[in-house]
Amino acid sequence: MNHDAYPDNYIRSILNSVKSIAMVGASPVNVRPSYFAFKYLAQRGYDMIPINPGHVGKELLGKPFVASLADVGRPVDMIDIFRNSSHIMPVVEEALTLDPLPKVIWMQLGARDDAAAAKAEAVGIKVVMNRCPKIEYGRLSSEISWMGVNSRTLSSKRAPAPTQGMRLSLNRMSVGGGETAASDRAAKNKTEQS
């Protein structure tokens, strides 16, 4: 996979197929991005599992915190890593010991570790880096458009009025003229410099 620019169909197929998501680094602090990404994905119907050894014994929006991926005790479809780039590799290595393996490893906005991605891809796991699943879900469903974000999708069908717990269709037409090749290029340049 080219990790500088993901085709919409790649992201779409992931968000359409995974059901359970273990979020490593989920925070109970309600102004942290991990908290509101967790909350949004739960509202959109994903089975969310918060992983954070510092908060075991507490709950995040009714879901008990789990100390580590190994402690989840059931298969998870996707691991969403809310850690800095320098802390990605140990999480991926732990994920590779799970049986069954997760189908997807997702690294949050700002996080990228190409070596860790290569290890996961070598065993058939799909990898997404430097993206937010909340933003991507909001973009592909166009729910994010209220804030002037370019969803890079079109649809001539009547839009749904989103309600609590509702899954939204992500199957809109992707557009080329609105591609953000420039921002993908800039992100790549930044990665190469650092």
Binding site: V31, G138, G148, G176, G178, A182
Partner: protein, 426 residues
């Protein structure tokens, strides 16, 4: 789903718009409301904390305006956009995110006269210091860079003479200086030039001109290219530092490659207040649907009129980058191959008096201070749009006393030429 890629004209009609969820209305409705109800207290708190997608109050966002924002972002190839009340408002909101008192920004000397005034006087009073550079001399931008430089500002096609700016060369200077390049793309519109493809980090427009296109509604817009890294060196604290007004959220960390557009909305528009009326957004959206058709006609007419004027004995010179002999023709062929725009100047052998005489005799051209209308427009910049500049600055910005500016409309070109011919003749 295939990732089939629609073209510019399809985006001009469809991007951002979808049949209304409640009524099925196909045209984008005018959501003429100040505010939007919350589902419950938790929903309200999530919206105010920037944690959930949704509408709060029209000074922060409005569903009609959001369609306009997404459409222009799509046409420019940006990640997000923010519509505001005017092009001038867009410039204030952009610089408010970048500048602290005592900071500097470098601006091309060839700009719309209103921008020159805004930068020289209003922004000076905020402690934002403009340093002028010459867009025909790229090294003048390099020389102007100091540790306090926070941005570079240029026009893609520059008012009033329609000169073309070497966006790529200036973007190289900006990248080297570690500051964003802001391009005012009003006179080109994304149909002719997409500055982001040439290295712009932020694009601004007066929507009042070609995008709206009918001379009936004011508006401005800011497009975030998603290309600039705001986190380095604490140079842009509005984006990189925890925001006390939002419980310590860091905008770049939270919103990634559209953080600048969000900063403009939640720190700029929210606190400065220049919101766009949803009615104006609707009028401008309707205009944008025909942008590709209009813009091509504007350019074809402008070229025909420029060629006529270049051959007229009463005309001393014509500045139109679409003419092969023009000094900007090489840049026009590179940056705007579909046409060099429809705003340009010419000077008359008879000087100031001949200019005044011409304006008074024209019958189709309207004498007014706007550009980018379906109607053809004429103005004498030295006595109007550029009148607050001193004589030397007038000449430097291409608005000397003998200069007349035209904005060519989408009428029949034969009628425009006939009108100019009769007015020049006697």
């Amino acid at each position: 789903m295939s990732d089939r890629l629609p073209g510019f004209s399809t985006l001009a009609v469809h991007a951002g718009a979808q049949p209304d969820p409640t009524t099925g209305a196909r045209a984008t409705p005018i959501y003429q409301t100040t505010s939007f109800v919350f589902n419950d207290a938790d929903h309200a708190a999530s919206l105010f904390g920037l944690q959930a997608f949704g509408n709060i109050y029209t000074r922060i966002g409005n569903p009609t305006n959001a369609v306009l924002e997404e459409r222009v972002a799509a046409l420019e190839g940006g990640t997000a956009a923010l519509a505001v009340a005017s092009g001038h408002a867009a410039q204030v909101v952009v610089l408010q995110q970048l500048m602290q008192p005592g900071d500097e920004f470098i601006a091309a000397r060839k700009l719309y006269g209103g921008s020159i005034n805004q930068f020289t006087h209003a922004f000076k009073s905020f402690g934002w210091n403009v340093i002028w550079a010459d867009p025909d001399d790229i090294a003048s931008f390099e020389r102007a860079v100091t540790p306090r430089t926070k941005a570079i500002f240029i026009e893609s096609i520059a008012n009033p003479a329609g000169s073309i700016t070497d966006i790529e060369a200036i973007s190289t200077v900006a990248r080297k200086a570690g500051v964003p390049l802001i391009v005012d793309n009003t006179l080109a519109s994304p149909y002719l030039i997409r500055p982001i493809d040439h290295g712009a980090d932020i694009v601004v427009h007066s929507l009042t001109k070609f995008l709206g296109g009918h001379g009936n509604s004011l508006g401005g817009i800011i497009v975030d290219a998603g290309t600039f890294d705001w986190s380095t060196g604490g140079k842009y604290p509005m984006l990189s530092e925890p925001r006390p007004e939002y419980h310590g959220i860091r905008l770049q960390e939270t919103f990634g490659n559209f953080a600048f557009a969000i900063a403009c909305r939640v720190l700029g528009l929210r606190d400065l207040g220049p919101a766009l009326s949803p009615f104006n957004a609707f009028m401008i959206l309707t205009g944008i649907e025909t942008l590709p058709l209009r813009m091509q006609k504007h350019c074809d007419n402008a070229k025909a009129v420029a060629e006529f004027l270049a051959g007229h004995p009463a005309v001393a010179s014509v500045s139109y980058a679409g003419l092969p002999s023009d000094k900007y023709n090489r840049l026009a062929r590179k940056y705007a191959p579909k046409g060099a725009g429809a705003v340009f100047t010419f000077s008359l052998k008879g000087g100031y008096d001949a200019g005044v005489n011409l304006v008074s005799k024209l019958q189709l051209f309207s004498h007014l201070a706007n550009v980018g209308d379906t109607r053809s427009l004429v103005i004498h910049p030295a006595s109007t749009t550029h009148s607050q500049l001193d004589d030397a600055a007038k000449v430097k910005s291409g608005a000397g006393p003998d200069v007349v500016r035209l904005s060519i409309g989408i009428e029949d070109k034969e009628d425009l030429i006939a009108d100019l011919e009769q007015a020049l003749g006697a």
